[in-house]
C-alpha cells in the first residue's frame, strides 16, 4: 500500500511538473508588432477558459526565433512568395500585384477573417481556395496544389502582413452549417487509438504526450515553420498528421471535411493574433 501511495504521489508531481506553458513572456516581433498569445476564450469555445497560442508551449529558444524576422526561417519563404506575387502568370497577363498592390498591402487583414463564406461559390473558402480562385478566374493561370510549396509560401506572405491583428472568423451567418460540421469532426474520435481533437487539445493541453508538449491546437500561427522538417507547413497538413497519429485513414488536404474543421478550429482562436509564419518544433 505504502508503495502504491508513493507511486501515486510521484505521478502527481510529474503531472504538475509539466505545467510549463509560458504565460509570462510577451511576444513582440521586430520590437514592433505586439502579438496576443493569451486571451479569454470566446463563448463558443465552451470548454476552455483561456486560449493560448502554440507559441506559449514551446521552449525559450524556439520562442525567441519568432521575435525577429531575420531569425525566423519562415520569412525566407515569405521572400520567395513575394517573388511569385510579383510574377505575371496566366492568360490575363496579371500578377497578384496587379490587383492587390505592392507587398500584398491590399491583403492586410485577410488572414484574420479566413476561412470565410464565399457567396458566389455558396461555400466556405479557405485562403488556399481563394488564392486558387484568383489564379484560375482572374489570372487565367494553373491552380497550385493545395499544400504545394508555392501555395504554402503564398499563404505565409498573406499571413505575414496581418500579423498582430486579432483572429475574427465569423461562424453564425451562412457558414454556420459548415462550422457545425467542423465542430462535430473536432469531437469525433477517430482511428485505432480512438482520439478526437478534443482529447488532446482540450482535455489535456499543457500535458506531455510522450516527448511532446501538447498545445491547444490553435491555428493562428499557421503556416508554421517546423524545425523538424525545415519548411513551412500548412494547417491541413497538420490536421492530416494529427489524424494519422490516431491511426486513422485521414481526409485529404483541401477536402470539405478539413475546410469545415479549419473553420471551427480557427473560430476557437478568435481573439488571438494572426502570427504566421510562426516557428514551432
Amino acid at each position: 500500500m505504502k508503495r502504491a501511495s508513493s507511486l501515486a504521489f510521484g505521478l502527481a508531481c510529474l503531472a504538475s511538473a509539466v505545467h510549463a506553458q509560458d504565460t509570462e513572456s510577451k511576444l513582440v516581433i521586430n520590437d514592433d508588432i505586439d502579438i496576443t498569445t493569451v486571451a479569454e476564450a470566446p463563448a463558443h469555445a465552451e470548454n476552455l477558459s483561456e486560449i493560448y497560442s502554440g507559441w506559449a508551449f514551446r521552449s525559450p529558444e524556439t520562442m525567441a526565433l519568432q521575435m525577429d524576422d531575420f531569425d525566423n526561417p519562415g520569412m525566407i519563404f515569405v521572400d520567395q512568395a513575394l517573388d511569385a506575387y510579383n510574377t505575371v502568370e496566366g492568360s490575363a497577363g496579371k500578377s497578384c500585384q496587379s490587383c492587390h498592390g505592392d507587398d500584398a498591402e491590399g491583403l492586410v487583414g485577410a488572414r484574420a477573417v479566413y476561412p470565410k463564406w464565399n457567396a458566389n461559390a455558396g461555400e466556405v473558402w479557405t485562403m488556399e481556395m481563394a488564392i486558387n480562385g484568383c489564379r484560375t478566374e482572374r489570372m487565367g493561370a494553373e491552380p497550385w496544389g493545395y499544400t504545394s510549396g508555392n501555395m504554402v509560401n503564398m499563404t505565409a506572405l498573406i499571413s505575414s502582413v496581418s500579423r498582430g491583428m486579432p483572429v475574427n472568423v465569423s461562424f453564425e451567418g451562412p457558414e454556420h452549417d459548415t462550422w457545425l460540421q467542423g465542430k462535430e469532426l473536432y469531437y469525433t474520435r477517430t482511428g485505432q487509438l480512438e482520439l478526437s481533437c478534443a482529447n488532446c487539445h482540450e482535455d489535456n493541453y499543457d500535458m506531455m504526450i510522450r516527448a511532446d508538449h501538447l498545445s491547444q491546437g490553435q491555428i493562428n500561427g499557421f503556416p508554421t515553420y517546423r524545425l523538424k522538417n525545415a519548411k513551412l507547413n500548412a494547417v491541413h497538413s497538420r490536421f492530416k498528421g494529427c489524424i494519422r497519429d490516431t491511426r486513422a485513414e485521414t481526409y485529404s488536404p483541401g477536402s470539405p471535411e478539413f475546410v469545415a474543421l479549419e473553420l471551427y478550429v480557427a473560430s476557437r482562436g478568435n481573439g488571438l493574433s494572426v502570427e504566421g509564419p510562426s516557428v514551432r518544433n
Binding site: 531575420f70 521572400d79 525545415a230
Partner: protein, 109 residues
C-alpha cells in the same frame, strides 16, 4: 546562377566608435552536398557556397571556408568592432563561379 539565391544581412544603422556590434547574415541556397542521388540513381552534382568573406572599409573581418556538410540556407552570426564610419562588404562564392555581394553602411553616432 543557382536558383533562389538571395543574400540578406542585418547590421545596426549606427554605433559608437570602437563599439562591438553583432552582425547576422543569411543566404538562401540549396547547398547540394554532392553525396545525394536522384530517383534514377545518378549523383546530384555538388553545388554549394564554398567561401564567405566580410570586409570593413577594405579590411578583412572574417573569411570562412564552407564545406559540403553545411546545411541549406547557411546562417552566420558574428561580432565586429567598428572603429569608424564605413561600409561592410559581404561576399559569398558559389561553386558555379557566381559571386553574390551585399553592402551595408554604418554611421558613427
Amino acid at each position: 546562377m543557382a536558383s533562389g539565391v538571395k543574400p540578406r544581412v542585418k547590421v545596426p544603422k549606427s554605433a559608437s566608435a570602437g563599439d562591438v556590434i553583432t552582425i547576422k547574415t543569411l543566404i538562401s541556397h540549396k547547398m547540394e552536398s554532392g553525396q545525394r542521388k536522384d530517383d534514377d540513381g545518378n549523383v546530384i552534382p555538388r553545388s554549394i557556397i564554398n567561401r564567405f568573406t566580410v570586409d570593413f572599409n577594405g579590411q578583412n573581418v572574417i573569411d570562412v571556408t564552407l564545406e559540403p556538410a553545411i546545411s541549406t540556407n547557411p546562417y552566420f552570426e558574428f561580432d565586429s568592432q567598428v572603429p569608424e564610419a564605413g561600409e561592410f562588404t559581404f561576399t559569398w562564392y558559389d561553386d558555379d563561379g557566381d559571386v553574390y555581394t551585399e553592402t551595408k553602411a554604418i554611421a558613427i553616432g
